[in-house]
Amino acid sequence: MLKIPEEFVRNILFWIQEKRWLLIIALMGIVLYQLPYPDNISPEGYRTLILTLIVIGLILTEPVPLPAVALLIAILEVAFHIAPAAEVAKSYMNDSVFFIMGSLMMAVAIVHQGLDTRLALGIIRLTGNNVKHIVLGFTCISALLSSFIGEHTVVAMMLPVGLSLVRNCSHQKPIPNLTALILFSIAYGSTVGSIGTPSGGARNAIMLEYWRTISDAGISLTYFQWIIMAYPMVLIGMVGTAFMLQVVFKPEFNRMDTAIRRLKIQVAHKGKITGNEILTIIIFALVFLCWVFLNERYGLGIIAISGAFLYMATGLVEWKQVSQNTNWGVILLFAGVISLGVQMKNTGTAEWIGNSLMSQFAFLMDQFSFIPYVLNILLTTIMSNIMSSSGTVAVLGPITLSMGGEPLYMGMTTAISSAFGYFSAIAAPACMIIYSSGLVKITDFLKAGWRMALMSIGTLLILYYFYWPLVVRFTNFK
């Protein structure tokens, strides 16, 4: 009898345990495919639902690289007869994918210039040595910057400043609270700020794309209109965050004279601002102005990749650096997930999920019109804490837009509450970095997170109930 070598069996077993989630998800997909289809959804819609579950499962458990998930979406969209190959190919490239690509490339260029030292000096000048002022300064500057140049760029520039300050302090005695205070002010500050404008994060651009292509109303929000809708949340959020963090993490001392002095020495060698640094700022300012004034004509994405082009054309960054430091896999994944989102709309899957969800709360809907919004916030907050904010909007966007509320408000609610990933270290890059530094504990996220979540959800509901109707009535920009 043929005897299978034990080493081969061990390798197979190891592969099985490594890829167990892939096998479980594949099995789930096969079983769902074979089950009788529900009556109130089209066969294509049901197969899109299966594909959506497969994609969510693969993104959450990561048994295969993310770009492979993007490829699988295209394969299964065609293989499941959800859409013809030509349509699938077309749905993979759109303005929001250009935006994600452009902003990631611009981030590399901006971070490469070392503007962080300028930022450090600026913050120190502004805040002085007082811990309260420093925390407020870090939170507000992170929030204001991240709302325009994106959370990932701000985090890369602000964290070295914060971590250096912490290190300069911790030579004297252990300072867990002050450490958490400074690091969380950057992490949460940049998260709060990223909701302020469409360029604050990929998720905002994705929502703009969904509004354009999925929503029946065909909503098209300009850069400035988004600011009017979302910026009060940023302003309240950044001040609230600075206050909240100081309540949770009581600093060990109130002044940081030595640490600030050391930081000044550390950054003093940089000298005067260079031509390259000025050019970097000018190009970004130009991109920003184009986003505000030319967004409707050219789209956020084309403007973003124009910025990336200018950085490369002026020699501020080499293509090699851009290509090495840009996560192309994520761009491909978002292209795939947005394509899936479009098919969810076309096949009626999004509507079916939305209706099924809302039917569970039908008895409350008559009395409380805000139920879809509350549900939307809860669903998005939970997902963003386990999956990352942009991934959440990409997957949940088509569903929340079909949950019965006003699409404009529902979309804003999804985009904003996807930033409420305060509880976990995996939701945002800033949270991941401060956690992996070993300087803050996972319990710190919980301690500060629930307060931040309550404050943010409360503010968002107030905006939805009182502010947005006013904006829509008086500006009539819908």
Binding site: Q17, L66, A107, N325, V330, S436, S437
Partner: protein, 290 residues
């Protein structure tokens, strides 16, 4: 020989692993690789995290894993196991999903520092396969299932450093049976016994009062070998459930050394094996020799 030491932080558990690892490596004049496996960020935010890390590196704030390795290297220097070379991040080499620090040769052995990111078992397995290590020394996992996976899937001998107290006087409990790895376990035990200056208890356990020929032969071979190398030892036969007897006999002041089971991998995966159950339940360091 090549030994791998996996550490997870700069706390006392990791110091104990370094302590015991250095001592054993000294006995074998083995090359030592210290490996830190950090948690990998979610792929969705990995690019952003890497960008921030690059920016941090310009401020001389390096990957937290490098700080752990720097600490480990300073411990080795403290113990006189490494010479006074400076830990220099300029000497880092990035290769095939890992970061390695190039260090000069230390007399007749080499120390390597390796940083990896990802799932613990997968990365450790990759490192073991890449380096063809003879022994992996690591802390005992918190979950029993993880101990099982390490014992089954790491293709090398494994030393689980569990409840190790550096100042205790340890004895060695050598578990002898008819498995193929027993002979290597006996050889390992003599070297470790010399390093720790610890007497050996050679124990053979049968489920019934009858001891088969294989057990008796293995036991007498072990006795002869220990006599020949001149190590003080005590020889015992015992009846009962082997795992329970080993654990009871070892208590917390022994180092258990036993051969890795060589039975069906499928059965091992489903039900475990004597060495796996011993490693899971023992209250002391356990060395499973392959």
């Amino acid at each position: 020989m090549k030994f791998l030491l996996a550490i997870k932080n700069t706390e006392s558990d990791s110091r104990n692993i370094l302590d015991i690892g250095c001592k054993i490596a000294e006995g074998f004049s083995a090359d030592l690789t210290i490996c830190y496996i950090g948690k990998k960020s979610q792929s969705l935010i990995e690019g952003d995290v890497n960008l921030a890390r690059k920016s941090l590196a310009e401020w001389n704030i390096h990957h937290p894993g490098l700080e752990v390795l720097e600490w480990a290297y300073s411990v080795l220097k403290e113990k006189g196991f490494a010479d006074d070379t400076e830990f220099n991040v300029q000497n880092l080499v990035e290769e095939e999903g890992r970061i390695r620090m190039v260090l000069p040769m230390q007399g007749n052995y080499q120390i390597r520092l390796v940083l990896r990111e990802g799932e613990l078992l997968t990365e450790l397995n990759r490192e073991v396969k890449r380096g063809e290590f003879d022994l992996a020394i690591l802390g005992a996992p918190d979950r029993k299932r993880m101990t099982h996976k390490f014992a089954q899937f790491l293709e090398t001998s494994i030393f689980f450093v569990k409840n190790f107290q550096p100042h205790w006087k340890y004895k060695i409990l050598l578990c002898v049976d008819d498995s193929r790895a027993t002979k290597r376990a006996v050889i390992f035990s003599t070297r470790i016994s010399k390093q720790f200056n610890a007497p050996i208890i050679s124990l053979t356990v049968s489920k019934t009062s009858f001891f088969g020929k294989g057990y008796r032969n293995a036991h007498s071979w072990a006795e002869r070998y220990l006599k020949r190398v001149g190590i003080p030892f005590e020889s015992k036969f015992s009846s009962g459930d082997p795992v329970e007897v080993f654990i009871q006999e070892a208590g917390s002041d022994h180092i258990i050394i036993m051969g890795k089971a060589k039975g069906s991998e499928l059965l091992q995966f489903a039900r475990g094996s004597k060495p796996i159950h011993t490693a899971q339940q023992a209250n002391c360091p356990v060395l499973l020799v392959q």
